[in-house]
Symmetry: C2
Subunit: 196 residues, 2 copies
Amino acid sequence: MPSPKRATTRSALDGRSLRADAQRNRRRILEAAETVFAAKGRDASTEEIAQKAGVGIGTVFRHFPTKEALLQAIIGKVATGLAEDIERLLQGDPATAFFTFFTRMVEQSTEKKTVVDLLAEAGIDITVAKPVHALRQGIEDLLANAQRAGTIRADVRAPEVMALLIGVCQASLHTSWEPDLQDRTLAVVFDGLRPR
Amino acid sequence: MPSPKRATTRSALDGRSLRADAQRNRRRILEAAETVFAAKGRDASTEEIAQKAGVGIGTVFRHFPTKEALLQAIIGKVATGLAEDIERLLQGDPATAFFTFFTRMVEQSTEKKTVVDLLAEAGIDITVAKPVHALRQGIEDLLANAQRAGTIRADVRAPEVMALLIGVCQASLHTSWEPDLQDRTLAVVFDGLRPR
DNA sequence: CAAGAATCGGAGTCTATACTCACCTTTTAG
DNA sequence: CTAAAAGGTGAGTATAGACTCCGATTCTTG
């Protein structure tokens, strides 16, 4: 029985540090996945992502045990980005912040199918991770502020706002938007949200 | 070369008449498909439909050359049903008919994923078949009537109504509706549609 | 009732894709 | 510089589901 010539490398267990190239590949995979999932939705093939990232499929599965895990990672990333957007908006005018955010989301969802998936999960909630929860919380803050500012009726609650947000985003994937159809649709929803 | 002992059976070419059992099977397939697609959406497997219909897979493909063709048949069927509903509603009070229809659609979409697919197609339109076109037309009639009756703003047009309808129906598939969330969501949309 | 046409049926083919594995390459500690 | 550990790779496996094919079965007509 050969005695171990050297002790365990790296910072023992749990530690984060990955090998230099592994870190680079991980980043590339995440970037590629974000692009591909955004364009083709959750049905995009793992192979396409691997190719776009310039790595073998095996590498993708080494970093993410499952395609679903990769998707979740991306969703978390997107959620975090949106939560930061909200953070910024919360600094500004409470009367308009909510509407600005809602509008941006709908605009984005046209090109980023990931956003829609994200919202769907945020709607169902349950085992959702922190980033998604933070997003939810942010939306609730925007809503509360707008209600305090009097630009949204007091009797509207977060769940229906989520439903409307999901709805309009989903619809934008299925309708062939003529230039301002999106705006007119939002106008109706916004009018429904304002106090009479 | 043996001369044909008997002339072509049945009414020559094109004719409709199928063999008795074939007709029965066709009906069974359509019924099964309607149920299964309603429950599982367009991803339901052909095999499941065949089984529920009590026939072999081969039989399904004899009647419908493609899974997609079968789906289209069902969508047409559902569209026809809805168009008839509308026909009935058009007889009643124009002030409320539109809202009644909208509400029904959303309620149905929870259990019938086919309805959502149907609407998505009706939204995109292009090569859509007659039944779907009839449905679209019906919705436009309901809208026009309601506008004449003054229960819907005159500046709202059909496309955004379709978008909203698609949106709320889609959302109902993704949110875990608490009892009256659906109603509160609809309330907001309806308020946006009414004249101020 | 019998011939033959129309249908049925379901094993088998084909394709797409997630995921594994045995072997090779790169990194890194010492 | 070197060996061991970490990581990379992509052919290969497994599975699922659409669609085909042809012998077996059932209906129809005379």
